[in-house]
Amino acid sequence: MKGKMYDYGNVNESQPDESLIVEMKNIHKSFDYVEVLKGVSIRVHKGENLVVLGKSGSGKSVLIKCIVGLVYPDEGEVYVFGNNISELNYRTLNKIRVKIGFLFQSAALYDSMTVRENLAFPLKHHNKKLSNNEVGIVIDEALDNVGLQDAAEKMPSELSGGMSKRIGLARTLILNPEIMLYDEPTTGLDTGTAKEISELIVHLQKKNKISSIIITHDMACAKITADRIVMLKDGMIYAEGKYEELAASEDEWVKSFFS
C-alpha cells in the first residue's frame, strides 16, 4: 500500500516544530471499563486539514474532545499551541478554547435562543466592549458567510439539519478560531447538502487560514476536505496518508472505506 502503516508510539521529538499546533502523544482513554483509545499519537500543522476516519465506536470523537479538554486522557499528553491541556487551570484552558472552534455532530445550537442569540451569546461573552450595533454587524457577516442571512430570527427547531450545521459553523467561526474541530459534520445530511457543507468547510478554512481536524466516516467529505487522513481502528491508528494513497491501498480494511 502507498499510505504508510502507522509506527505506534514513534513520534519524532527531536526538533521543536513551530508550525505544530496540535500534538497528541500516546493517548489512552477508557469509559465504563472499555478502553476506547489505545495509544493514539497525532500531529497537526498550521493550515493543515487532517481527516480522522474510522467506523462508529472507534474513538474518533473522544480524540477531538481531548483536544478541547472536554475529556481528559487516562494516559498520554495533548499539546495545543504548545500547552499541555491536562496541566492547565480552568481560566488558562478557556483562553486556549477561545482559539479552538468545535462543530458538534448535532450542531448543538442552544434551543431556547434564536439563531441571532445563538451567535451573539459567545460573541458578547468574550467581547464585552462591543456595542449592540457592532454585534449585529458581526452576526450578519457570519450568517452571510454560511449563506443564511434570512435565518437570524428563527428558532433552532425551525431549521433543517443542513441549516443547523451551517449556523453551528457560523457560531463557531464568530470567535475567529485558529483551529477548527469538526465532529462528523456531514452525518445525517443528504448527499447534496453534505457536499455543500464539505465545500463550505474548505472555503472557510482557506478564507480564514485555519487548521482543521475533521472526524468523519463519510468518504465524500474526506475526499473534499482532507490534506491528510488518519484511519482509526479499535482505538488505534491503523493507517495514515493522503486520500489518493489510501485509496490505492491493498489492505482489506482500508479498501472497505473506499469501495
Binding site: M5, D7, Y8, H28, S30, Y33, E35, K38, G39, K65, V68, L70, Y90, N94, K95, R97, V98, I100, F102, F104, Q105, S106, A108, L109, Y110, D111, S112, F121, P122, H125, H126, R171, L175, G235, M236, D251
Partner: protein, 247 residues
C-alpha cells in the same frame, strides 16, 4: 503490520461504592455553587429571566393549591373543634399550620414537581444534545450560566411563593384577619430561604447537569429531580422543625 492489545481488566464497583461516589459528586457539585456564585461574570439577565420563569409562572398553580388547602383545612378542622367548644381557636390553629408547615412544605413540593422537573429535563436535554459541551468549548462556564442562575432564582423565588401561598391559604380559610402566630417573619424567611428553595434548585440542576446517555436520560433526570427534591424537602422540614422546637 503491528498491532497492540491494551485490554485492561477492571472490577465493577459495588453498590456501596456507587452510593459514596454519588454522595461525593453531589457534595462537590453543591460546594461548587458557593465558589462560583461570588466570582464574575454574574449573568444577571439570565438570573432575572429564571426568576420570572420560576416565580411568576408558578403563581397560578401555587395560588389555586393554597386556596384549596386553606379552605379544606378549615372545613375539616371546624367540626372537631366545635365538639370541644374551641371554635375560637380555629383561626390561630389554621394560621400556625399554614404559615409554619403547610405553606412552605406544599409550595416546596409543588415547586419540586414543577420547577425541579423542568430544570432537570431542560439541563438533561441540553446535556444529551451537547449544548452544555458547546458552551464549555466556547469558553463559557456552563455551571455558572445554567446552574448558578437557576439555583439563585429558586432560592429567591420559592420563599416569595411561600409568602404568596400563605396569604392565599389564609384567605382560603377566612382567617387572614385573625392571625395569632408565634413565628417571627425573620425566622420564617431564614427557614424558607436557606433550605427549601436552594434544595429544589440544586437537586434539579444536579440531576439534569449530570444526565448521561440518550434521550431517555432526560426523563430519568426529571423524574429523579422531583423524587429527590421532594424527599429532601421532607427531610429538611423534619430537621428544621426539630431545631426550631429546640430553640
Amino acid at each position: 503490520m503491528k498491532t497492540i492489545e491494551h485490554q485492561k481488566t477492571f472490577e465493577e464497583p459495588g453498590y456501596l461504592k456507587k452510593i459514596f461516589t454519588g454522595t461525593g459528586d453531589f457534595i462537590y457539585f453543591t460546594s461548587r455553587f458557593f465558589k462560583e456564585v461570588l466570582k464574575p461574570p454574574y449573568f444577571l439577565k439570565e438570573t432575572i429571566r429564571q426568576c420570572f420563569q420560576i416565580g411568576y409562572k408558578s403563581l397560578p398553580l401555587v395560588a389555586v393549591t393554597a386556596f384549596i388547602i386553606g379552605l379544606v383545612l378549615t372545613l375539616q378542622s371546624r367540626p372537631s373543634l366545635v365538639q370541644f367548644g374551641a371554635e375560637s381557636l380555629l383561626p390561630g390553629m389554621i394560621s400556625v399550620s399554614i404559615i409554619r408547615e403547610i405553606g412552605p412544605v406544599i409550595t416546596a413540593i409543588i415547586c419540586a414537581g414543577k420547577i425541579g422537573s423542568a430544570i432537570g429535563a431542560e439541563l438533561g436535554s441540553m446535556r444529551v444534545t451537547e449544548q452544555i459541551e458547546a458552551m464549555e468549548v466556547s469558553a463559557i462556564n456552563p455551571y455558572k450560566y445554567l446552574v448558578v442562575t437557576r439555583v439563585l432564582a429558586t432560592t429567591c423565588m420559592i420563599p416569595l411563593l411561600i409568602v404568596f401561598t400563605d396569604a392565599i391559604g389564609l384567605y382560603g380559610s377566612y382567617t387572614a384577619m385573625n392571625i395569632h402566630s408565634d413565628i417571627g417573619l425573620q425566622r420564617f424567611f431564614s427557614e424558607a430561604l436557606n433550605h427549601l428553595g436552594f434544595a429544589t434548585g440544586i437537586i434539579g440542576c444536579y440531576k439534569g447537569y449530570n444526565a448521561k446517555g440518550g434521550t431517555e436520560s432526560v426523563g430519568r433526570a426529571a423524574n429523579a429531580a422531583v423524587v429527590s427534591a421532594s424527599l429532601a424537602i421532607f427531610v429538611i422540614d423534619m430537621i428544621v422543625v426539630q431545631i426550631t422546637d429546640f430553640l
